[in-house]
């Protein structure tokens, strides 16, 4: 059996999730190449393909109507589409501008209406095409990505956690940020990252999105009562990576 063909594509994003692929070291990376054929990966290779693809990793948000056709052509050629990273899975950080009406004028001033500067609401790629699986996180957890690929190669459904980051902090015995006079979004944030941020002394910003059915009013209450936030700051807090989800929930 020939090796599955894998390709990487990028839209509106920082391309950091692609960079994570180069951070496995020689052993894991070269082993991965024994199991898949990388047929297109603009950031790392000049080769391109118009052939069918088994797994397409699509990074970045859908933020320009002009990108729709390219997304559709990827979908047509790919058996499996993975939204790779939070920009692609939920709109991610790019959606932090969605609630502003003047972002173009703020950045480009009088030049804001020049046609090359077109931009619309930042959305997940699922707003344009069907997505089969999502690798969450800003950046992705590169070990979770290996697990997803391994599951798919074995014909299994990838298992993506749907419990909060608090579980992972307890597991690694990290002191709660609220007990360190800080704040945190861990109680509504989707786990799967192994909770590195609280372990490094900073709050979870829910960069993998929310667990299903997050209790956002309770989150705001905790931010006000235990972290001393103003009501407005509490309401805006989770916008950083979850602007689209907060809009959908409200």
């Amino acid at each position: 059996m020939s090796k599955p063909k894998v390709a990487f594509f990028d839209f509106t994003c920082c391309e950091g999730c692609q960079i994570e692929f180069t951070n496995y070291g020689d052993a894991a990376f070269l082993e991965l190449l024994n199991h898949v054929d990388v047929v297109e990966f603009r950031e790392a290779m000049s080769e391109k393909t118009t052939e069918p693809i088994d797994i397409a990793f699509v990074e970045g948000s859908f933020s320009r109507e002009a990108d729709r056709a390219r997304l559709e052509s990827i979908r047509e050629r790919a058996a499996i589409v993975i939204a790779y990273g939070q920009c692609s899975a939920s709109g991610g950080i790019n959606a932090l501008k969605n609630h502003q009406s003047d972002y173009k004028q703020f950045v480009y001033g009088a030049d804001a209406e020049q046609p090359q500067l077109d931009s619309q609401k930042a959305q997940p790629i699922s707003a344009a095409i069907k997505v089969d699986y999502s690798a969450y996180g800003c950046p992705v957890n590169k070990y979770e990505v290996l697990q997803i690929v391994a599951h798919l190669l074995h014909g299994k459904e990838p298992v993506i956690p749907n419990y909060p980051v608090c579980v992972e902090c307890k597991r690694r015995e990290t002191v709660c940020r609220y007990d360190e006079a800080d704040h945190c979004l861990g109680m509504v944030a989707r786990a799967g990252c192994a909770a590195p941020c609280p372990a490094y002394g900073v709050p979870c910003e829910a960069c993998r999105g929310f667990v299903d059915h997050p209790n956002v009013p309770a989150l705001e209450k905790v931010l006000v009562e235990r972290a001393g936030f103003s009501q407005k700051r509490a309401a805006d807090k989770a916008l950083m990576f979850n602007a689209n989800d907060l809009e959908a929930l409200s």
Binding site: F11, T12, C13, C14, E15, G16, C17, Q18, I19, E20, T22, N23, Y24, G25, D26, F29, L30, L33, V38, F41, R42, E43, A44, M45, S46, E47, K48, G60, S63, R64, D67, G92, I93, N94, L96, K97, Q100, D102, Y103, F106, V107, Y108, G109, D111, Q114, Q116, L117, S119, C138, P139, P196, C197, A199, Y200, G201, V202, E205, R233, D236, M240
Partner: protein, 437 residues
């Protein structure tokens, strides 16, 4: 007479999206453009209304390769605005992670992005079969850079522990001692990398275009983390500017073929990056790195933009030796977690640091609650776009005069773009925003 229609949509093996469009008819250059169609992202606007502790976490996401540098420039600007001066230990740890990022990114560019051109391959993947040891070595060094940065920052893509006021978490003295051993153990692999670059050096195209080079500079070291802005002209004239006056150097303007803004200072355009640092700060280079520069045949002021990749090879050697020196100091003093330095005021401030692709500026204003009123970020690749265009304007007629084929011209132009190691997804731009307080 040469006739060529070159249209490279999205140059490969670079970070972000850039196009090359060249039309030549019967030896006459009709069009020659470096275009930047990257989707704009509006970070300067997004930071409005966010607390000062969150701003670097947002602007780090400007770039996946230089996220350490964006974090540092952002935090330096915020600390300037908030009247914060960090401890010597925090300063040294930040210098150490700056070296890690420079090393990590340069290893990637030299081996994975640039080398295939010099070996006549379309990417690193065919090289796994033909140059397996080079690829394996590159991946080992890449991992070293990643783990070196992760030890200080928690991870290298969007580091966590660097925060306004200092460091939220610090490595143990034991971990730093282990890192020192790993860096010294990597020296033979560095030497092998330099030998590979030396072997490929004859394939670096001969092309010269004297331009202005802009980089941070200080009187102490080969300024990466901190310094004043310095410009050096092809005749060696140097001028320094305080970071607060960065707009006097960048002078941004919008052009139709680009979503990124262009910059210029004393000449038509200027360059930032490893070659600009090398040309500005050669005298501060570590002696071991100077030896490598000599072996590689590069000396200031080098005006061949293709040599930027060679300057990167000099810098990875500098990064390792400078870091061993920093580690010696940190280990001798012992490292412990310190309380964060609190803000003493809320106002406006600017910060600059050198990222792998050149000098990076961030600026923010804060209200009395510590909430951000707006930002401005000027990215090194944006400062290079105009210089790339001017290189094109000189290079294309030269290639036509040399009777190069369309394919050869296309490769020469792509290689030129790649030599700048552009990081185009850093698409954030700014005009004359008045911060309303």
């Amino acid at each position: 007479m040469t006739t060529a229609r070159i249209r490279v949509d999205h140059v490969t093996r670079v970070e972000g999206h850039g196009n090359i469009v060249v039309n030549v008819t019967d030896g006459v250059v009709e069009k020659c453009e470096w275009q930047v169609p990257e989707a704009p992202r509006f970070f300067e606007s997004m930071v409005r209304g966010r607390h000062y502790s969150e701003v670097a976490r947002i602007t780090s996401r400007i770039c996946g390769i230089c996220s350490i540098g964006h974090t540092l420039a952002s935090i330096k600007a915020t600390e300037d605005a908030l009247g914060i001066e960090v401890s010597e230990q925090s300063w040294k740890l930040r210098e150490l992670i700056k070296h890690a990022e420079n090393f990590d990114s340069h290893v990637l560019h030299i081996n994975i992005l640039a080398a295939p051109d010099l070996l006549g391959a379309p990417s690193v993947f065919p090289l796994v079969a033909t140059h397996g040891e080079v690829v394996a070595r590159a991946l080992r060094l890449k991992r070293l850079g990643h783990e070196w940065g992760s030890l200080i920052g928690g991870r290298t893509t969007h580091p966590m522990s660097i925060v306004p006021g200092g460091m939220a978490e610090v490595p143990t003295t034991k971990e730093l001692t282990q890192l020192r051993e790993r860096l010294l153990a990597a020296v033979p692999e560095l030497e092998a990398t330099v030998a590979t670059v030396l072997a490929l050096a004859p394939n670096v195209p001969a092309f010269d275009r004297p331009t202005e080079y802009v980089a941070l500079s200080n009187d102490k070291d080969y300024a990466l983390y901190d310094g004043d802005i310095q410009s050096v002209l092809p005749d060696g004239t140097k001028q320094r500017y305080p970071v607060a006056d960065y707009k006097q150097v960048t002078n941004e303007f919008v052009v139709p073929q680009s979503t990124a803004k262009y910059t210029k200072n004393k000449l038509d355009s200027y360059a930032a990056g490893a070659l600009a640092r090398f040309n500005n700060n050669y005298d501060k280079l570590h002696p071991e790195a100077k030896k490598v520069a000599e072996a590689l045949g590069i000396q200031p002021i080098c005006t061949n933009p293709y040599m930027n990749t060679v300057a990167q090879a000099v810098e990875i050697v500098s990064d390792v030796y400078e870091s061993v020196g920093l580690l010696d100091e940190l280990i001798a003093n012992g490292v412990e977690l310190e309380p964060l330095v609190e803000p003493t005021k809320f106002g406006s401030g600017a910060g600059a640091t050198e990222v792998p692709r050149g000098i990076l500026f961030h600026e923010y204003a804060y209200d009395d609650e510590g909430m951000c009123l707006g930002g401005n970020c000027i990215i090194p690749t944006n400062q290079n776009h105009n210089n790339i265009q001017h290189d094109f304007d000189k290079l294309v007629p030269e290639l036509v005069a040399q009777d190069k084929s369309e394919k050869e011209m296309e490769l020469a132009l792509e290689m030129l773009v790649r030599s700048y190691d552009p990081c185009i997804s850093c698409s954030t731009h700014y005009l004359d925003v008045k911060f309303v307080r």
